[in-house]
């Protein structure tokens, strides 16, 4: 595997001015579109992007207005990993070299309906970087619960009422499920920490074979947050310990950020329409779940 030191660094100063995802119709402040834009700048011109049904494909390819300046294709909702794998295999068979195939799929497209194909892709070690932009619900269809919707969230299929307080399950443990495939490289990130995300995309770019990045990407429309706070909220989630920044590489987990103290969970939640209804007991449940997870991560990953 290429050593990290050998990889040329990419940052805000030396990053290309070229835009590869531009003129799309995403809502103002869309975190998913920030993730796609940054990743494509790191990956560069010689990229094939595959996007399943979901917000980023819905806002990017409305004929005749195409928002990708490099090769890109919408895949079936369940089939992004396999279509990307087919692209990589086809291009290889045609003798093409020095290119990257990348998937940008939502949380639903990744942790739910596209999971089987993703697992197959990692199992075969296809030369594809799979990026899951996690806005914690099926946004494109109008904010329904996915397997990555966190506890307490009010969505249109988990309405909060007298009897059920919104979503009653916790987020699927996606990162560790992916790592359990013994993938060459996997990471979590947040658009609230853009340089960290850029570094991880850059690292994955230089790994041959299947790689995976789970990036937390705010959605003002689905979360009930002001458009100008998207980056801040995505940072808050990390600082409150609800989202962690980590890597899995050479069979080892690494925790990239291990804050001594977490910022207030309650404050993070109360800023967002989707959590406004939560009772103290439900907030306590979120905190307990967070603490259990961190105890385990600190014990095993440090």
């Amino acid at each position: 595997m290429t050593k990290v030191l050998d990889i040329p660094k990419v940052n805000a100063k030396n990053m290309t001015e070229k835009e590869f995802f531009y003129g799309h119709k995403a809502c103002a402040g869309c975190g998913g579109s920030i993730a796609v834009r940054l990743a494509l700048k790191v990956l560069g011109e010689r990229t094939y992007s595959a996007l399943p049904a979901g917000c980023m494909s819905a806002v990017g390819f409305i004929y005749p207005q195409m928002a990708f300046n490099s090769n890109a294709i919408i895949t079936t909702f369940p089939g992004s990993a396999s279509m990307a794998a087919g692209i990589a295999a086809g291009a290889k068979a045609l003798g093409q070299k020095d290119f990257k195939t990348v998937v940008f799929a939502g949380d639903g497209g990744t942790a739910d309906i596209g999971f089987q194909a993703l697992s197959g892709m990692i199992d075969r070690n296809d030369d594809v970087l799979y990026i899951c932009y996690d806005n914690e619900a099926y946004m494109n269809t109008g904010i329904q619960k996915s397997g990555l919707t966190p506890y307490g969230t009010k969505t249109t299929t988990t309405p909060a009422g007298k009897n059920i307080p919104g979503t009653i399950t916790h987020k699927k443990n996606l990162f560790e499920i992916i790592a359990a495939h013994d993938i060459a490289y996997a990471a979590t990130a947040s658009i609230g920490y853009p340089q960290d995300f850029i570094n991880k995309v850059n690292k994955a770019k230089h790994v041959k074979g299947a790689t995976f990045i789970h990036v937390y990407a705010s959605c003002p429309t689905g979360w009930g947050t002001p458009t100008e706070t998207s980056v801040e909220i995505a940072k808050d989630a990390v600082d409150a310990g609800l989202i962690f920044l980590a890597e899995y590489e050479d069979g080892e987990y690494k925790l990239n950020r291990n804050p001594k103290e977490f910022k207030s969970v309650e404050e993070y939640l109360k800023k967002q329409g989707r959590f406004k209804h939560m009772s103290d007991a439900d907030i306590q449940c979120v905190i307990e779940n967070r603490d259990k997870k961190w105890e385990r991560m600190r014990k095993n990953w440090l």
Binding site: R46, T75, G86, K92, A93
Partner: protein, 396 residues
């Protein structure tokens, strides 16, 4: 011409045809009775006889997704399925034809659960007639091999760019052995040049594919897709003629007429049962009856002209359907009937539904169909739809 005949099953004949066509990517998921094809292809790749990426996909949905992805960068692709697997691909089948990716697939025709049955009928592919794929049905292993080669030429034609499904009856064709002529690789290379398409992503000319359309444009895309399917008719005829010229074997394009020249009563059928019908036609002809067979080769595009042309010349037409569209009639019949209705003439018509879930269609049953057609004609009956040789009481 030097000949190279080997004794192989229909599944193996398909694998030979695929190898000769030099696909770049093969992605398939096993299902009886298709498995032998993908096993042979894996062996060919392992042995270095075939220079293709063999993708061990985890499902049929991924098989079709992967082949579409490879096709979208200009690679030649192959997949194979059957029954439950074909249905699991259904989303991808429509997607593939809409994307205009000339993927070639072998479908081993098999019944569809429930009840479970691994044996043959044609309900799987016929239920996907509207998915936008060219569908051809073959009668023997040789035709299966030859049609794989032709399929690439037809599907990849610039005026067609539509995926193609080569259907062969489960077990009856997939698992029975025949002497099959293996065409010469150099001749196949000459017949089938490398795949070229403007409809691909590349670094020289980047493209956004698989996009959304607004109501303003959608109908036009679908219109073009339909036109491409009609364009395929001429391409199919021409490809078959070129094939005959090069390899000597003749399949007659969209349909094959057998003893129809002066026929009064004909049966219409798809696939392997045509072999049995031919035998019955020979017997009845020897008895002086003017009977014939129309072997429909292509269900999409549909041979409307050929069916109309024959209907003008005969008095009665029966359609054998190894399929049923519940609450109506056999799907082949619906299609044939629609073509017949375009001519201004009385033809007695009847639909014989049977051979489901692997039940043999016997010579005696076929002879009985011809007799029923004669009787119906004599009585100037209305059309009839019947499940033949039923073990339970029908409700009429």
């Amino acid at each position: 011409m030097k000949t190279n005949k080997i004794f192989i099953s229909g599944d193996e004949a398909v694998a030979q045809g695929v190898k000769l066509s030099r696909p770049h990517v093969v992605a398939a998921y096993p299902i009886t009775p298709q498995t032998i094809t993908v096993e042979r292809l894996s062996e060919m790749v392992e042995a270095g006889e075939m220079d293709a990426e063999y993708m061990h996909v985890e499902s049929e949905h991924s098989a079709i997704s992967a082949t579409m992805g490879a096709s979208a960068v200009g690679a030649r692709t192959f997949t194979a399925s059957s029954s439950q697997g074909l249905l699991y691909m259904a989303e991808g089948l429509h997607y593939c034809s809409g994307g205009r990716w000339p993927v070639v697939m072998m479908n081993a025709n098999r019944s569809v659960a429930l009840p479970w049955s691994i044996y043959g009928d044609q309900r799987d592919s016929l239920s996907l007639l509207d998915s936008g794929w060219i569908q051809v049905y073959v009668e023997d292993a040789q035709e299966a091999l030859d049609m794989i080669i032709q399929a690439y030429k037809i599907a990849e034609h610039k005026d067609v760019l539509t995926p193609m499904m080569v259907n062969l009856d489960g077990f009856i064709l997939t698992h029975t052995y025949e002497l099959v002529e293996i065409p010469d690789q150099e001749m196949v290379d000459q017949f089938l040049p490398p795949f070229e398409t403007p409809n691909k992503m590349s670094f020289e000319n980047p493209k956004n594919l698989g996009f959304s359309s607004r109501p303003d444009d959608n109908t036009e895309f679908k219109y073009q897709q339909n036109e491409a399917m009609f364009n395929a008719i001429d391409v199919i005829r021409k490809t078959d003629e070129d094939f005959t010229e090069m390899f000597g074997r003749k399949y007659h394009g969209m349909v094959e007429e057998y003893m129809c020249e002066d026929a009064d009563v004909v049966l219409v059928a798809l696939g392997s049962v045509c072999g049995t019908v031919r035998v019955v036609v020979d017997k009845l002809r020897a008895e002086g009856k003017k009977v014939g067979l129309l072997k429909i080769r292509y269900m999409r595009p549909f041979p409307v002209e050929e069916v109309k042309d024959l209907a003008k010349r005969v008095k009665a037409m029966g359609v054998i359907d190894k399929d049923i569209s519940f609450g109506y009639e056999g799907t082949v019949y619906t299609n044939v009937n629609s073509a017949i209705s375009q001519i201004d003439k009385y033809v007695y018509k009847s639909n014989f539904v049977g051979g489901l879930g692997g039940r043999d269609i016997t010579k005696a049953e076929i002879e009985d169909m011809y007799n029923k057609l004669y009787a119906g004609l004599e009585n100037k009956s209305e059309e009839t739809v019947e499940f033949f040789s039923l073990n339970v009481e029908g409700n009429d």
